[in-house]
Structures are given as structure tokens and as C-alpha cells.
Amino acid sequence: MYKFILPLRYFLKRRITHLAAAAVALCVFIVVVVMTVMNGLVSEFKDKNHDFVGDCIVGTDSLVGFCYYEDFLSELQKHKFVQAASPVVKGFGLLTQPGTGQNIGVEIIGIEPVGFCEATKFAQTLYYHKDKPSDVFSPTYNPALAGCVVGIDMISGSRDGAGKYHHGPEPLQIELMIICFPLTARGALAKAGTDLVNSKTVYYSDDSHTGLVKVDARTIYLEFKLARELLGMAGATPRASAIHIKFAEGTRLKAGVGKIKKMWNDFAETYADRQYANLLKNVTVQSWLDYRRGSIAPMEKEQTMLILLFAMLGIITVFIIFVVFYMIISHKSKDIGILKSVGVSRIAVLQLFVVFAALVGTVGALTGAGAGCVFLAKINDMEDWLFERFGWQLWDRTVYAIGDIPNDIEWQVLAVIIGAAVLAALAGAFFPGLRGSSKQPVEVLQVSQL
């Protein structure tokens, strides 16, 4: 019992221990707040990437694309673990708005709206056709016109200072011209000898807000067949750039990707003697994480760097606890001497100080975590208040594609932080505890020592 009563008494009576607990609380508070925001940003960014591309991508970086994709699609559809699969063509084009004389280079993504919305969460990124994506390329003001979907950040002035996008009740009739180089299956210009390019007038039908800056600022979505035609991928042996796949619920990502890889290898082998089989060699099968690795990796690295920096600073907390315990134990020689003289073992004395350290660590960690949770719960309100009063935002929403500050607490992360804080407290207290437990009653209870 004394193992619990004494630590409690020390904790309540010795003010210096409150300082150690405060140091732990401060550290935990900052780590909880920063890590929650950072984790939120990273996982939000990952989710956006996942939503944008689906679970698995069979595709090539080459703008020439690859042939026989329809046959592979048929293969995919035979398997139950594949919930949806949709072909996509990708290329670059020049977008011109008549009358403005302004051109911008864009990435063209040609999609079959229904299939693509099944394989990805594209429908959720739309504004006017969220509920009926099949009509996304039919402008509401004139369904007979060829429609297009533009990245939301390509529409100037649609975003206000608070980061909110504004839309009219109907899309505006905006005429756009797309110009692109059609390429042959060998990578040459398909229209060499003529004017080299294909052009087509399309009309704004909707916009897509994926939340991915580079995508929303430079992407135009066209109907699959139209894009294929423009990029020179139509013809007797049509080509596609990628197939986006969504796995059935319960399919593990790694297992699903593994199966698709095997299927693709078998398929490529079967088609090895076909005319354009060389294009199949450039095709890779990747999970969404690998496919978007280039975008996701920098954020993950920054997260890791931040964790390392906080770990370094956490060492200071360990030292504070070390010093505080050293001090307390130096002062509690009499207690140790008395305990040992009545038969308490060295291990038991060490346990006493371990319990004491755990108490300091737990109280500090819980206080810091509690304060962190309260702060996080109010963080967006505080930012709104600061913005209304002083025009100050943590991130300028006209610069960054960030909505609210992420404040969803991941309980696993919180548990890890609390656990790490308690361990840090135990580490800090271990050596002073060991030193204290090895004191001999005969030495510390001498009259001269009293």
C-alpha cells in the first residue's frame, strides 16, 4: 500500500513535482496539437488522392498510351474482387477562351463518367452534377453541346478570402477551345504535314473540386471518346492511358493489387505477338499510394521530420524529470532509510519511485492531452474569431487549398503520445530511483546525516 500512498503524498506535498508534471503537460499539449493538425493534413491529402484515382491503376506515363485495354477491361470485369474499372486517356492541351486571347496549358483527362465515378469518387468533386454524373458532359443550358469539366481553380474569382467557393444556380455558358497534338502509336505527330494539331470547341458544364491544387488548377475533363479523338488515340486499335480500378469491399489493397499485377502479366504475355505489344511493356500496375507517391511522400517526410524534432525536444522533458527526481530522492533519504530498515527491499523502493514517476507522467500527460483536445475542439472557432477581428488566418485560404484546420483527434495517436510521455517520465526517474534505492539505512539514518 505504501507504494501508492507515499508517491501520492510526495506528489501532493512536493511542489517541485508539479513543475515536472507541468513540463510533461506542456510537451504533450504541443505534440498533441501539432501532430493532430499535421496528421489531419496528411491523411486528408492522402484521402483526396485516393478519392481521385481509385484503389489501383493500370497505366503508363507515356502520352502514347497502350492498346488492347478493352480486352483487359473485360478480363477485369469477370472477377468479383473488382467492383469497378474504367479506362482513362490523358494528355496535354492548350485551353483558350475565345475573346480573351489567353491560353493556358492544361492536362486533359478523358473519362467515361459513369464508370469513372464508380471507380473513383469523381462525382463527389462535381458541383452541378453531383447526383447525376452521367450527364456531366451535357451542359444544362444546352445539352446538345459538347461539355467539359474544368478544375475549380481554373475559374478565376470563384474563391473568397475565407476559402469558400461560390457558384451560380446554373453553370455559365462559357466557350472554350482545346488544342492538342495527336500522337501516333509510335509517338510521332499524327498530323505531320498538315497543321499538326487537333482543336475542338467545348462548353463549361461543371467544375471539379478534388482539393488537390495541381489537379484543380490545371486539369480539364472531357468525354472519353472526344479526348481519345483529340489526342490521336482513337482508330482501329484504340489506346488508353490508364485503367482505374476500385476493389470490392473487404478486398485488401495489397492483395488486390497483387492479383491485378498477375492478371496483367498474363494478359501482356498472351498479347505479346500483337502489333502494338511493345506499348504494353511500359504499363505498370500500382496501388493508389504508389501511383501518387510523388505527391504524398513530401508531406509524409515533413511529418517524420516534425516527429524527430519533437522527440529531440522531448529529451529536455526527460532531463527535467531526472533533475526533479534527483532532488526529491536526495531529500527523501530518511524515508528510504526507514523503509529499508523495516524490511522493504531495494526493488520495492525502486518500484515506489517508478510509481511516483508514472504518477507524474500520467498526470502531466493527461493534463496536456486534455488541454490539447480542448484547444483542438475550439481551434477553428478561434481562427474564425481571429479572422473576423484581425483578418488573421493560420493559412491564407486564397493561397492554400485547405478548408478547416484538421482537428479530428486520432485516439491511437493520442494514446501513443500519452504512453510516450509516461515512458519519458519513467526514463527520467529511473536513475535517480536506482540511486535512491541503493542507499543504505545505516548511512542515511546516522545522527550526523539527520
Binding site: 517541485i16 513543475l19 507541468a22 513540463a23 506542456l26 510537451c27 504541443i30 501539432v34 507515356s62 502520352l63 494528355g91 496535354f92 492541351g93 492548350l94 483558350t96 475565345p98 475573346g99 480573351t100 486571347g101 491560353n103 493556358i104 496549358g105 492544361v106 492536362e107 477551345m177 488544342i179 492538342c180 497534338f181 500522337l183 509510335r186 509517338g187 510521332a188 505527330l189 497543321d195 499538326l196 494539331v197 482543336s199 510523388g294 513530401p298 517526410k301 521530420m305 524534432l309 529531440m312 525536444l313 529536455i316 522533458t317 532531463f319 527535467i320 533533475v323 526533479v324 534527483y326 532532488m327 536526495s330 531529500h331 493560420l394 493559412w395 491564407d396 486564397t398 493561397v399 492554400y400
Partner: protein, 465 residues
């Protein structure tokens, strides 16, 4: 008080060599320094101060270096001041405007740019098409405004200004392209393959760009040189063509036109004053030579290149402030640590403090001594921190490369962080304030223990019961 005098008297009676009160004080001081100086735990507080100091200096230097690099890259690429024509308008007779500008003492040189966007096909059978930003330039005048010639891979060390002429099969048209147009940095090392880059020089490529008449125009040109600025934004997709060729394609009936005038100021010219001068010259030129309305003149954007980056820079500065605040708050733990260490010393050395006080050292002297030790700890710690922060910042590119080689982890990529190299300039302004703050923080941590030491009562501590 009486006790203290009594002890002094006894000591004076018994030890002849302590013949004066001064010698007693010196002995006390010596003992005190010995107690404090011999404490290994003080090294811990020095290490903590050094670590926090180094961390804050590194973060601040890297951030300010990054912000400075953005400002400099804008200066280098755009000049000091930019006149931007309103949307869908062009500046004709720009030679006269440039002459008027260059006549001013504030301005060293000016150059015209015609900008657009296009689609670049990188030659036969490559299947490589990419979106490109096109600038029509005059290489000779551009070299006076920006260090453009130094950024060219082939003509870097040439004595003559670079030119844009090529073989006949491209109608004599040559262009420069950003290094990112012809090569991709290695995924692991983030370095370009210069063999591949050099091989691309001379290659014939096709550039298509739209016009106001909605008729796409294709320009075939030879790559005369490759521009490598080390700034991803300017390397990734820029194509430079002769301004007259681009003007002829985009605005065939308008002669020589530009939509941007980039200006380099004379040495020592104040940007604010120069901006006023440029605005005056522009207003005069636009009214008299171009016959523009006041509204069109008002719509013309005339800014320093730094003002053009102001919004982005303000965000980076805000982020730096937040990061410094977070690390600063966490570093406040160092103050707690120093407090704990000094308090520990006071508590464990109460008897010694009582002895030296009884030998004649006043309470104020004891307190001051602890405070001075706090300052010294802070001073040594911050000095070490400055050295570590300086060495780390200066060698950050080697450290990054080492991590990349040892762990295969490429932390810095130009495509993510804009620059090929990590800016490694130490921000001495922040070094000074961080260093000074560290010294005072250490002293603040030692303040309460110093008071505790000063209030130690020898009569209470040294009694034997």
C-alpha cells in the same frame, strides 16, 4: 546577524592567515565557484540551452534563407520592377519606352517580354508533349536585366551575349528551354542527367500556341541552349523564343509588341523612388505614344518583383513565425530545466552555502553568484548553440546528401521545395536575438534558485541537533 559576527570572530581568532575580512570573502567566493564549477549537472543545462538555441537558429535560418531565395529568384528572373500590360492588351513601340526608362538615373536597363502559353512536342518519335510557358525575349537586353546568360548551360562562359539563331530547317528560329523541359531529375538523387540535357541541344521541336483569332500557330525551332536556374518554377516548363518571332505569330498585324517590361535598377536606387519614376515614365509613354485611356493606364500593373511575391512570402513568414513560436514554447522547457538544476544545487549544497555565508559572503553576493552562473550557463550554451546552428545550416546540403546516401531518403526535392539546393544562409539577425534570449532565459531559470540561495540562513542550516 549576531551569530554571523560571532562565527567570524571565532574564525578570526583561530586562523591567522585569514587576517582580513577581504580574505574571508575571497575564500567564500572561491568555495562558491568550486561548488558550482565542479557540478557536472551544469553541463546538462548548457547542453539543453545549446540544443534549443541551435534548433531555433537552424529553423529560422533555413526559413529566412528559403524566403530570401524566393525573393532573389524573382529578382533574378523578373528584374527589380515589372510593368505588366492589362489582360489582352500589348505594349507596342516598347523600344521607345525602354529608351525613356534607361535615360533615368534610377534605371540601369530594361527589356521587353511577350508571354504566352503553348504546347511543346519534343521531336520525332518521342511521344513527348508537354504544356509550356513561352516568353518572347531579346537575349542581349535580357542579359543586362537578369543574369540570364549565366544560366545557360552551353553559353555560360561566353564573352558575347547569347543569341537566338539556328539552322535553316527551322527558318532560322532557335529557342532556349528550361532544363525540366528536356530532362527529368533523378527520382533518388534529384539531379539532372547532363548528358541527356546536352544531347537535346540542337534538337528540332514543335511549339503550338493559340492566338486571339483562335487559329493555333505552330512554330518549329531548334533548341539553342538549355536554361538551368536551379529554381524549379523557372526550369520546369519555360520556352524562350525571339520576341519578334513570337509577336509575328501571335499578333501578326501589330509589329513589335510586348506585354511585360522588366527593369533592373541602378545600384543603390531605392525601389520605392524608382517605382514612382517608372510610373511617371509609363503614364507619359502610354498617354502620348500609345494613346491609352486613363483607365487602361490604371489597369497596368507596375510593381517590384518582391511585391509580386508578397502574398506568398507573407504566408511563408507566417509559417516561420508559427514554427518559431511552437519551438520557442517547447524550448521554454529549458528554462524549467535550468531552474530545476540550479534549485537542485541550492538544495543539495545548503550547508556549503551556509558555510560561505558564515565566512562573510553576503546574501546579495550569493544570489548574484548564482545569477551570474545562470548567465554564464546561458552564454556558453548559446555560444555552443550558435556554433552548432551555424555549422548545421552551412552544411545542410551535405547532411541532406548524407541522409540520402545512407538511408536512401531524399528529403529535399526541387519539384517540392522550388530550389535545387537548400538555401544555407545563416540569418545573423535571428542568431543575435536567439542567442541573447537564450542567455536571459538561462538567467531567468536561475533567478528563483538564486533567491533561494540568498535566503539560506546559516544559523538554521549549520545547527547540530
Amino acid at each position: 546577524m549576531h551569530n554571523s559576527i560571532g562565527i567570524r570572530r571565532i574564525l578570526n581568532d583561530n586562523y591567522n592567515f585569514f587576517s582580513t575580512e577581504q580574505s574571508m570573502k575571497q575564500l567564500s567566493l572561491f568555495l562558491c565557484l568550486k561548488y558550482l564549477g565542479g557540478k557536472k549537472i551544469l553541463l546538462l543545462s548548457i547542453a539543453a540551452v545549446a540544443m534549443s538555441c541551435a534548433l531555433l537558429i537552424t529553423v529560422s535560418s533555413l526559413f529566412t534563407g528559403f524566403i530570401g531565395a524566393i525573393e532573389n529568384s524573382a529578382d533574378e528572373h523578373l528584374g527589380d520592377i515589372v510593368i505588366g500590360a492589362p489582360a489582352a492588351m500589348t505594349i507596342s513601340k516598347y523600344d521607345r519606352l525602354i529608351s525613356s526608362l534607361e535615360a533615368s538615373d534610377y534605371i540601369e536597363a530594361a527589356t521587353a517580354v511577350l508571354s504566352g502559353q503553348g504546347l511543346l512536342h519534343l521531336g520525332k518519335g518521342t511521344g513527348d508533349v508537354r504544356a509550356a510557358r513561352i516568353w518572347g525575349i531579346e537575349p542581349a537586353s535580357r542579359s543586362k536585366v537578369t543574369p540570364f546568360a549565366n544560366l545557360l548551360i552551353k553559353h555560360k562562359n561566353g564573352t558575347e551575349p547569347p543569341t537566338l539563331t539556328a539552322a535553316d530547317d527551322t527558318d532560322g528560329i532557335a529557342g532556349f528551354v528550361g532544363i525540366g523541359v528536356v530532362a527529368r531529375p533523378d527520382d533518388v538523387t534529384d539531379e539532372y542527367d547532363f548528358k541527356q540535357v546536352n544531347a537535346s541541344i540542337g534538337r528540332r521541336v514543335f511549339l503550338t500556341t493559340g492566338t486571339r483569332e483562335l487559329k493555333p500557330k505552330t512554330i518549329k525551332f531548334a533548341i539553342a541552349d538549355v536554361v538551368f536556374s536551379g529554381v524549379h518554377e523557372f526550369d520546369k516548363d519555360f520556352v524562350y523564343l525571339p520576341i519578334d518571332v513570337l509577336a509575328d505569330k501571335l499578333y501578326p498585324s501589330q509589329g513589335k509588341v510586348a506585354d511585360m517590361i522588366q527593369i533592373r535598377l541602378s545600384d543603390g536606387a531605392s525601389p520605392e523612388s524608382a517605382l514612382a519614376v517608372v510610373r511617371g515614365i509609363w503614364r507619359n509613354f502610354a498617354q502620348k505614344e500609345l494613346g491609352w485611356s486613363n483607365y487602361a493606364i490604371l489597369l497596368t500593373k507596375i510593381n517590384t518583383s518582391r511585391q509580386m511575391q508578397a502574398k506568398l512570402l507573407a504566408e511563408y513568414k507566417k509559417q516561420m513565425g508559427m514554427l518559431m513560436l511552437i519551438f520557442g514554447v517547447v524550448s521554454a522547457g529549458v528554462v524549467l530545466l535550468i531552474f530545476c538544476i540550479f534549485y537542485l544545487i541550492v538544495i543539495t549544497k545548503q550547508k556549503d552555502i551556509a558555510v560561505v555565508k558564515s565566512c562573510g559572503l553576503s546574501s546579495a553576493s550569493v544570489g548574484t553568484l548564482f545569477l551570474v552562473f545562470g548567465f554564464v550557463t546561458g552564454f556558453i550554451g548559446s555560444g555552443l548553440g550558435v556554433v552548432i546552428g551555424y555549422l548545421f545550416t552551412k552544411n545542410v546540403n551535405y547532411v541532406e546528401r548524407l541522409i540520402s546516401v545512407v538511408f536512401g531518403l531524399k528529403l529535399w526535392k526541387s519539384s517540392t521545395y522550388m530550389f535545387t539546393r537548400i538555401p544555407n544562409q545563416v540569418n545573423w539577425e535571428s542568431v543575435i536575438w536567439i542567442g541573447v534570449a537564450a542567455v536571459f532565459a538561462a538567467a531567468a531559470g536561475a533567478l528563483i534558485p538564486a533567491i533561494a540561495a540568498a535566503t539560506v540562513r546559516p544559523v538554521k542550516i549549520l545547527r547540530y541537533e
